[in-house]
C-alpha cells in the first residue's frame, strides 16, 4: 500500500531523512519507534504530503503522492497534538470534514459510540480537555473507513478506558486488512498490538523486523526487552 524509495529530506543543515526505503501492505500494524528527532514524524508527514521531500519517491496504492491530493482519501491521520478552531463545536468540526471528504462509503462511527461522542457534539473545541480533544482526533481518523491509518502517539493523554477502546478498535482494523502505522515511545503499550517494528535512528531505518522474529532473534520474552537489547548492542 505504501512504498517509499530512497527518501531524503533536510531542513537547512539538519538531514532529517537519509535515503530511507520502506514498504508496507495491508494487515500490518507497524510500530515506528526511535529517539526524539530521529525522523519518524518527518517520514509520516512526507507520506501525508505535509513535508516535501528533497529526493526519492513515495507511492500510496501505486500512485505517486507528489503534487497529488486525491490519494489522501485512503488515509486516516491522528495527530500527536490536535488543536481545532476554538469557537467550533465538535459537531461542526465533524460536519466540516464529512462535507470536505464527500466520502461515498458509509461512515464508521464505532469509536464515536464507544467514546460517547454524541453527547458532546454541542461543546466548543476551546472548552474541551486535552484527552477529549484526542478522542475527537481519533474519531476523525477512523470515521472515513480509511485503508491506511497513521496514528502519531495515539494514546498520549487518553485515560486507561479510552486507550483500551482505541486499542480494541486498532485490532479490529488489523483484522480487516488495513495498514496501521503507530509511533509511540511507550513500548509496553505496543506489545500484543503491533506485528512489525521499524526502528529509526538519525534519519535512517536501523532495523525493520516482524515482531516474532525480533523476539526470537534477541532471545527475550517481550518487545520492550528486545528493542532495548538491540539499542544497547548498537551502542545507542
Amino acid at each position: 500500500m505504501i512504498k517509499i524509495t530512497d527518501l531524503s529530506k533536510s531542513f537547512g543543515r539538519l538531514q532529517a531523512l537519509k535515503q530511507v526505503s520502506f514498504e508496507a501492505t495491508g494487515g500490518q500494524c507497524i510500530a515506528l519507534i526511535g529517539p526524539n528527532g530521529c525522523g519518524k514524524t518527518t517520514l509520516l508527514k512526507s507520506v501525508l504530503g505535509m513535508v516535501k521531500p528533497d529526493k526519492g519517491t513515495i507511492t500510496v496504492n501505486d500512485k505517486l503522492v507528489e503534487r497529488d491530493w486525491q490519494y489522501r482519501r485512503s488515509i486516516g491521520y491522528m495527530p500527536q497534538i490536535g488543536r481545532y478552531p476554538q469557537n467550533m463545536k465538535i459537531g461542526q468540526v465533524l460536519d466540516m470534514l464529512i462535507d470536505l471528504r464527500q466520502s461515498q462509503a458509509p461512515l464508521d462511527d464505532e469509536l464515536m459510540t464507544a467514546f460517547k461522542m454524541k453527547d458532546l457534539l454541542h461543546k466548543r473545541m476551546g472548552t474541551l480537555s486535552g484527552g477529549t480533544v484526542q478522542k475527537v482526533s481519533a474519531c476523525i481518523a477512523f470515521l472515513f473507513n480509511p485503508s491506511i491509518l497513521i496514528l502519531d502517539e495515539p494514546t498520549a493523554g487518553l485515560d486507561p478506558v479510552a486507550s483500551g477502546i482505541l486499542r480494541e478498535k486498532i485490532q479490529e482494523e488489523i483484522a480487516r486488512n488495513r495498514l496501521i502505522i503507530i509511533t509511540s515511545h511507550i513500548l509496553s503499550e505496543m506489545d500484543g498490538l503491533v506485528n512489525r517494528i521499524t526502528y529509526m535512528h538519525e534519519g535512517k531505518i536501523l532495523f525493520d523486523k516482524e515482531n516474532q522474529s525480533l523476539i526470537k532473534d534477541t532471545g527475550t520474552s517481550n518487545l520492550m526487552d528486545a528493542v532495548i537489547g538491540i539499542m544497547k548492542a548498537n551502542g545507542i
Binding site: 531542513f11 508527514k45 501525508l48 504530503g49 505535509m50 513535508v51 516535501k52 491530493w69 486525491q70 490519494y71 489522501r72 482519501r73 488515509i75 491521520y77 495527530p79 497534538i81 490536535g82 488543536r83 481545532y84 478552531p85 476554538q86 469557537n87 467550533m88 461542526q92 460536519d95 466540516m96 470534514l97 462535507d99 470536505l100 471528504r101 476523525i140
Partner: protein, 255 residues
Amino acid sequence: MNKLVRYILIDIIRNRIVIAYMILLAAITLGVFCLEDNPAKGVLTILNIDLFIIPLVSIIFSAIYMYNSAEFIELLVSQPVPGKTIWLSLFLSLAGALSLAFLIGAGIPILIFAHGILAWFMILAGVMLTLIFVVLGLVAVVKTADKARGIGLAILLWVYFSILFDAVVLFLLFQFANYPVEKAMICLSMLNPVDLCRIMILLKMDVSALMGYSGAVFQDFFGTNFGILISVAALVLWVLIPLFYSLKKFVNKDL
C-alpha cells in the same frame, strides 16, 4: 472551497477580538459624527483613524489567527483537499470576517451620516485595506515559521506602510523640492496602499483645495475616472500579487 470558508468564517466571526474590533469601529465612527456638526469634517477625522486601525488590526489578527491554527491547517492538509483550496479558504474567511466587522461597525454609520460618493469611497477604501493587510499578514506567516518573529514581521510591515514610507517620501520631497516631482509622487503613492486610499478620499473632499500645486496635479490625475480606475486597479494588484506569492510559498512549504 465554499464549504471550508463557511465553517472557518463562522469560527472567526465568533472570535472576541473581531467583535471588539467591530464595536470599537462603531464607537469611533458614531462618536465622531455625534461630536462634529459638519459631516465632511467628521469623515476626515474618521479617515485618519481608520487608515491607522484597519491595517493594524487586519495584519496582526490574521497573523495570530494563522499561527494559532497551525495544527488545524495540518489536519486539513492531511485530508483529501488541495493545498490551494485550504490557503484561499483561510484568506477568504479572514478577509470576509474582518470586512464584515468593518462594514457593520464603520460602514453603516458612515452611510447614515455622510452622503454621496464620499461615503462609498470610504467604504471601498476600508474593505480594500482590510483585504490588502490580511494578505500581508499571510505573507508574514508563510515567510517565518516562528510565531514571535512572524508577528514581529507583521508589525514591521504595518509600521513601514503607516509611518516609514511617508517619512521617506517626505524626505525625498524636500531633497527634490526644486524639481517638478508631482508626477513622480503619483507613481510613488501607488507603492503604498494606505497613501493611495488617503489621497483618493482626500481629493473627494473640499479640503483638497488647500493642498496647493501638488493638490492640483493630484486632482488632475485622481479626480478623473481614468485616475480612479488606475488607483483601484493598483489596490486590487496589492491584494492579488501578495496573495499568489503566499499561495505559492504555502503549497511548497513543509508544515
